[in-house]
């Protein structure tokens, strides 16, 4: 089911949560709403679900105006950051909730619940209460519960935000696989650009209630629409008055055109890569990312004076507009 958001605005008191937001989500796609806190991404998701009403604008689901529809009538599944588990019900009863509400036959419900518990790898946990599950298990239960009534759209509000890094990585992959199997139109909210880039087909970058850019992960990184997207999606540093990625800079010991003197503050090993933090001669701080091999060759040490340049720019200068 496709989702169309048309000129949606929402204000909470004096806070403009959404300011004339429009976007299209294709049927069957996996979209991330990415932005810092307060950017309006959760509000937008809640408006799509019908949990909030927009002050202005329109929500269309599968081409039909759904702006005034109650959440019950929208056919969406919603997953909350803090699980919103029904604490007084067992895992089975949680998952079965939407089916019981729809008064489906008992045998159908039991079969569907078994199938979903299998899908989220919670077979054998059916008779536990949410309090007896770990965070990751609770969130998988919440996913199964949201999927049970076969929603046409799955909406997830920072679904992995409350989990530790390892479980988060597991669940991301799992969500991606689930989507590849079911092709349910899925929108998830995150403030973690890595998560958005890794999981989504399409990323909507939001800031201060507005959409900054909508693009695929690769395009977003390679061709950010503006400085905000550049700095929010991946790291960016300012070099010669321009925003560049740390791996677009190189450290050299030979003086050459465009090279600037800098003192090394810190050298950090990040697995395969080495990150070097420096202070330039004009007082600006930059970071340079280089391979471990290259770093070893240069024998980088804190306190050392080196040269930093942007390859390709100093010589021709014609590449200086590659960004922005």
């Amino acid at each position: 089911m496709s989702i169309e958001v048309r000129n949606v605005s929402k204000r909470f008191g004096s806070f403009q949560a959404l300011d004339d937001v429009s976007l299209d989500v294709d049927s069957g796609s996996l979209t991330a709403l990415l932005g810092p806190s307060g950017s309006g991404k959760s509000t937008l998701l809640r408006i799509i679900a019908g949990l909030e009403q927009p002050d202005h604008g329109e929500i269309r689901l599968a081409g039909e105006d759904a702006t005034v529809l109650a959440p019950q009538q929208r056919g969406v599944g919603f997953v909350f950051q803090h699980y919103a588990a029904f604490k007084h019900m067992t895992v089975r009863d949680n998952v079965a909730f939407g089916l019981k509400i729809r008064k489906q036959p008992k045998a159908t419900i039991a079969a569907r619940v078994d199938e979903l518990l299998q899908l989220v790898q919670l077979q054998g946990f059916g008779h536990r209460y949410p309090a007896q599950l770990s965070g990751g298990q609770r969130q998988r239960m919440a996913l199964a519960r949201a999927l049970a009534p076969e929603p046409k759209v799955l909406l997830l509000d920072e679904p992995f935000g409350a989990l530790d890094a390892r479980v988060r990585a597991e669940l991301r992959l799992w969500l991606r696989n689930l989507h590849d199997e079911t092709h349910t139109t899925t929108v998830f909210v995150t403030h973690d650009q890595g998560e958005a880039m890794e999981v989504a087909d399409s990323v909507v970058v939001m800031n201060e209630g507005r959409v900054e850019q909508i693009a695929g992960p690769r395009e977003l990184y390679d061709a950010p629409a503006n400085d905000f997207v550049m700095t929010f999606v991946g790291e960016a540093v300012r070099f010669d008055g321009e925003l560049v990625r740390p791996h677009d800079l190189e450290i050299t010991l030979d003086a050459g055109p465009g090279a600037r003197e800098a003192q090394i503050d810190r050298v950090v090993q990040l697995g395969f890569e080495t990150r070097c933090e420096l202070t330039l001669d004009d007082g600006n701080r930059v970071a340079v990312q280089l391979t471990r091999g290259a770093a070893a060759e240069l024998e980088l040490e804190p306190g050392q004076i080196v040269l930093v340049r942007r390859p390709g720019v100093g010589i021709g200068g014609e590449l200086s507009n590659v960004v922005g």
């Binding site: 679900a49 019908g50 919603f78 919103a84 509400i101």
Partner: protein
Amino acid sequence: MRRYGLRGIAVFYLVAVLLGPLAMVFYRAFDRGLQPLWSSLTDPNTIHAFTLTLEITAIAVPVNTAFGIVCALAIVRRRFPGAGIVNAVVDLPLALSPVVVGLMLFLLYGRTGWFGSFFQRHGIQILFATPSLVLATIFVSLPFVAREVVPTLRELGDEQEQAAHTLGASGRQTFWRVTLPSIRWAVVYGVVLTTARCLGEYGAVAVVSGHIEGKTETATLRVQDYYENFNQAGAYGIAIVLAAISVIVLLAMTTLRPKEAP
């Protein structure tokens, strides 16, 4: 040492203020043997007084439970202008002396009162009859359920209810299947406190009852009646029955309540 000191003070205080007098009531009730106690308790007017108290409680508790839950939901879940005022007004019966409550009812339902003349014309007796006793008791026992449920609802948050909505549950289904089960222990606790308050209500009831033996005399008024007529065994006898009911209710609740409420 300090630990024991604090414990000692707590125990001493409880014994001196609470348990001592209670023990005294039991002791005095059996002071002159079982015979006078038994005859006072089986007196038809005493039995009527107990029945009347139980009837009033049976009406006031369900009414205040329903009202308390609705009121708590309104205060916590609905953002409406004046929610703060409603929240404060619910506490009013706790702050007002029951005697004042009785007088208010007197003024409202008396022969010249706002509502009194209306009921008078239709031949319905409110004052000095069961309706005024019920009204007075409902008024004084009104806050307990709401007071217990409001913080529980706040702590619960509305995410579970929103989850139920997105799963297709109507407002009514959400209330019965999600909200009520989540606040059930707060409701139970509120009901227990309301019941205890209804059984023990004296001040407001004393003003509107008219003390008609066998008609409008509740158990607590009966205690006063016996006491003033130097029937100590009778007064203490009713007192221990009232105290025993309260203890049983409290014990029942403590045993029913799970160690960790899920």
